[in-house]
Every structure is written in C-alpha cells, then in structure tokens.
C-alpha cells in the first residue's frame, strides 16, 4: 500500500455516535445505524488509506478519523439525461402561441 504523504488534502470518516448512543427519539430505521461523519483536511502525519489519522481542516481545527480519500473530488453532476423534461418547453410554447384556449 502506498504511503499518503503528510500535508496531503484528504477526506476522513468517523462514527460520531454508535447505535446505542443515539437519541432515544428516532424512527426504527435510523435507530439501527450509527451517526457517521465526513470531513476534509491536510494530513498531519504520513499514513495509509484506512488508517485512523488526524487532519487540520480549513479552519485549522484538528479532527480525527479514518483516512478514506486523497484529493477528494466533487462527483455530483447533472445526472443521467431525463428526456421527459424536453417536452415541457415545447408544450408551453405551443400553448403560448395560441394552440390552447381562446383568450386574446
């Protein structure tokens, strides 16, 4: 396993509250899973993926967690194309151009 160098920008993961420590007022499905957390920061010591590490966040806080990703990427996008959307504009323009109703 390759070493992740100190100072690398990384993503960490931790469990904030185990199942047993969660709030008593939760729906069943939520009660059965822990409260988990993700954060990002600069790695404070050389480490391997999966190690429990400490990072310095953008506000200079030291936060601990399991090292899961180096240079974490934004992967959100416009999703898969939804063809239904295409029909809306066409329909509206048709109505506005006088296809429907009689007004003015």
């Amino acid at each position: 396993m390759s070493l992740v160098e100190k100072g690398s920008w990384v993503r960490i993961y931790d469990v904030v509250l185990e199942k047993k420590d969660r709030s008593p007022n939760l729906p069943e499905d939520t009660k059965n899973v822990p409260l988990e957390m993700w954060n990002k920061g600069f790695l404070l010591e050389d480490a391997n993926i999966g190690d429990y590490v400490k990072v310095k966040t953008l506000t200079d806080r030291v936060v601990a967690g399991k090292l899961i990703e180096i240079n974490p990427t934004y992967s959100h996008s416009f999703g898969k194309f939804v063809p239904e959307i295409l029909t809306i504009g066409k329909q509206l323009k048709e109505i506005l151009r006088g296809g429907e109703s009689s007004e003015e």
């Binding site: 059965n32 409260l35 996008s77 239904e84 504009g89």
Partner: protein, 475 residues
C-alpha cells in the same frame, strides 16, 4: 475533570453553550412559561431596518431586480376565468453574492459576530444558508464551519446538498457532513463548545432582521413602478424565517394590505428523521417536513426563542407537489429565460395557480429565486429520484405520493395550489404552547401573547382553550 461528551451530557448543557454562542440572554424577554416579549426581543437584540440596509449595502447584498414574468402571466391567463389572471413578479434573489436570499439572513449574523469579536461562525444547515454564511464570513475575514445532514447510511448523498457543500468550500468554509438524524444538533453543540465560534443560527433576531429588507424593497419597488403595494406576496416556507422577515419588512414599509401567503412542497408521509426516506424525497427544503412543525411549534430550533414565527403573519398557506415545482422550474427557464431553483420555485408554482384566482389588475410577487447548477437542478434531481426507485411520469400532480412517484403535470392547467386549513394549524400551535409548557391556566398577558403569536381573535382563542380544557382569565 474530563469533559463528558455523551449525547445526554452535551444536550443537558445546551442552554449554557448557546448563551455563549449567540450572546443573547433570552431570559430577559421571558414573561412566564408561555409568553415572551417578541417585539422587545426583536428591538433590543436585532438591528433597525436602516442599520440592516447599511450593513447589506456595504457587502453587496439586496437591492435585487424585481422582474415581471410576462409570459408566465400570459400562460396563467390561458387557464383563468374571464377577468382573472394577476400579473406575476419575481424578486430575483439569486443575484445576491451567494446566490439566494439567505445572503440577507447571513449578513446581519456575520456582521454581529465580527462586531463582537468572534473569530468564526458556525451554521447547522444543508441548504443555501451555509453558502450565504461562508460568503459573508469571507468578506469579513471570519472562519466558517458548516454542519450538514447529507448522506443516508449507504453513504449516498443528496446531489443538491453535495453541491451546497462544494459551494461552502468554494468560499473557504470547513464542511462537516453527517448521516441522517436530529443528533446533528449534538455535533453542532460540541463544535460550538470546542471553537467558541458564533452560532449563526437561522432563528435569531439578527437573521430575521436581515430578511426584513426583502419585504421592504418589494414594497418600495412596487410604489416606484406602480404607485401602490403588491396585492399578494408569496414566500416558500420551511422554518418560517423567510415569511416572517418578509412580512415584517412589508409592515415596516406600511404595506398593510398586502396578503402574505406561505407555500411549501407537500412531502406528507415521509419521515424527516428516517434513514430510508432521506433519499426518497427530491426537495431538501421548502417542504412540509419543516413547514408544518416549525409553524405549529416555532421554539424547536437551535435557540430558546425563535424569531421566525410564521403564524403571526401568514394569511394563507398552500401546498404544491414536487412534480409541479419541477415543471414550473423548467417553465421559468423555457419561457422566461431564467434558470433558477428548483426548491426556491415552490412559491412560483403556487403563484402560477393563485394568480388564476386573482383579478387581472392585481399583482402577486414570488419573493425569491435561487441559483442553480450541477446537483441542484431539476435534471440531476429527477435523475437521482429515478435512481432511488421513484417513478417519474406525466399525469395528474394532485395524485403524487411523496416517496413513491413524481408526477409532472400533463398540462400546466393541472397545477393547483392546495389550501391548508390555517385554523387547524393555529389550533395545533395553541395545543403545543399549552401542553409543551405544561400549563393549566393562562393569564391575560399569556392570552395576548398567544393571540398575537397565532394571529387569532380572542373568541377563536377561547374556543380552542375551552376544547383543550385550559382555564384562563385573571392576572
């Protein structure tokens, strides 16, 4: 002594942590169990309208364009009865520095934090507010931590919330992302305690005062252009602050005859703290999951007394479906050339329907728009819904079942805002006020407070109290 970080121990000292982190002694305004001096709190701890205008002017917030949606108005008139079809306007709040009206709300909080020597600010939000706080803090040179509820237990995140995290980071904020659950508040408290940062809560008098300029501007915009106030202003309603602040601003402008309407996306049937339901909804704000509980019990927030009290100001409350809002979001782009939303277009969908019931010479204002982009757009949100087993199809939107399907209206004539029984909500609020505060008898001061807080006549209030078997009268 070791600092006890158990859930119970942290929650037990919430009052102490909050007092330090907000700098308001709420006790000062307390008037017994039920009542408190709302206006006194707003005056003493908030900022005057003029001060807020100056603060916002100095950071490029506010004075957003008021746009007339002529094509949408023409479309609404195609379906309206003879003589009906009010002119529809939108306050293009996406023009604010962080892309939403939340910049107004954040501007006063961050200004206050800076003035009082705080090094940083913290906000618990999955929405536009995080980006607004981060943007304002960047201007004032403060650090920001945003705490988000973002993922379900599979680690699948709402695309809209992930985009908001990116935007917060773009302004230099640290973003803490959590799985589903109200214990976000636990992480919030421990982070406040560790850092000593200011709690840029959405529900302080600072935040609400920041929104007042929005209502005030709408009135001024209308008087300049038409010599009169708008007939109706419609606000997307979640925690109630948007509506409360806007209504207060309109009142401060003297626009006393403008009807204040709240609109939310109907997500009934989905549990907001449910891990399974989390990714079965396509709206993360502006929906009934916040709108109903926060209106009927405002003091459930991260401050002891919420400055957001929508029942005080709401004349009407309507619901629309997810499919209707997505459809109207596409309509706004396709016939008005404005790509905005989607969540902020909740009130737009409702306005399109309500305009058809109003006279042609009347006006209705959609008081916000918000930025759009990857993740936060009807395209990725519908794609995500499909990936999570939600059926997306054209049909009758009133048949939509949240969490099972999203029904895009087959025809825009099918977009119909559904009116909520406001009296029922007011009754529920009174019940909460009495039961949660464990009172059996209300004095005159408490009666007056409840009347104001739920905008009720004395007769209606006493009728509710009789039903609840609560006594009243006497000092």
């Amino acid at each position: 002594m070791k600092n006890d970080r158990s859930y119970e121990a942290v929650m037990a000292k919430r009052g102490e942590i909050m007092k330090k982190a907000v700098g308001i002694d709420y006790e000062e305004f307390s008037q017994g169990k039920v009542a408190f001096d709302y206006e006194g709190m707003m005056r003493k701890t908030g900022y005057s309208l003029e001060e807020v205008q100056n603060i916002q002017h100095s950071v490029g917030v506010g004075n957003t364009p008021l746009l007339e949606l002529k094509n949408l108005t023409a479309l609404a008139r195609k379906f309206a009865p003879e003589g009906k079809g009010a002119r529809i306007f939108i306050k293009d709040e996406a023009s604010n520095p962080s892309g939403s009206y939340k910049a107004r709300r954040a501007s006063t909080s961050v200004y206050h934090a800076k003035k009082n020597g705080f090094k940083g600010v913290i906000a618990a939000t999955s929405g536009n507010y995080g980006a607004a706080v981060a943007s304002q803090a960047a201007i004032h040179g403060l650090d920001t931590i945003v705490i988000q509820e973002c993922y379900d237990s599979r680690g699948v995140g709402q695309p809209e919330i992930i985009e908001k995290a990116r935007k917060c980071e773009a302004y230099g904020a640290e973003v803490v992302q959590l799985t589903v659950g109200p214990e976000l508040f636990y992480t919030f408290l421990t982070t406040l305690e560790d850092t000593g940062y200011f709690n840029a809560s959405l529900y302080t008098p600072f935040g609400i005062a920041g929104v007042e300029t929005l209502g005030y501007e709408i009135s001024m915009n209308f008087r300049e252009r038409f010599g009169k106030d708008p007939d109706a202003v419609i606000c997307t309603n979640a925690g109630g602050g948007n509506l409360t602040g806007t209504a207060r601003g309109l009142i401060k402008a003297g626009a006393e005859h403008t009807r204040i309407i709240g609109a939310s996306v109907d997500l009934s049937g989905l549990h907001m703290a449910s891990d399974n339901d989390f990714n079965r909804k396509s709206f993360t704000t502006g929906h009934t999951g916040f709108g109903m509980p926060y209106a009927t019990w405002p003091d459930r927030t991260d401050v002891p007394r919420s400055a957001a009290r929508p029942l005080r100001y709401m004349d009407e409350y309507v619901l629309v479906s997810q499919g209707e809002v997505f459809y109207m979001t596409e309509a706004l782009a396709q016939i008005e050339g404005l790509e905005r939303g989607p969540a902020g277009n909740t009130s737009l969908a409702a306005a399109f329907s309500l305009a058809q019931e109003m006279g042609k010479d009347e006006t209705i204002v959609v008081q916000e728009s918000e930025y759009t982009g990857a993740g936060k757009h009807l395209q990725p949100q519908l794609s995500f819904a499909k990936d999570n087993g939600i059926h997306v199809f054209f049909g009758d939107p009133s048949k939509e079942i949240p969490g099972q399907n999203i029904i895009l209206p087959e025809n825009p004539s099918m977009i119909k805002a559904r009116k909520v029984d406001l009296m029922k909500m007011k009754k529920s609020y009174i019940k909460n006020a009495v039961q949660k505060n464990e009172v059996q008898r209300l004095n005159e001061q408490e009666m007056n407070f409840l009347q104001d807080d739920a905008k009720l006549t004395r007769e209606a209030l006493t009728e509710f109290l009789d039903e609840l078997k609560v006594e009243y009268g006497g000092a």
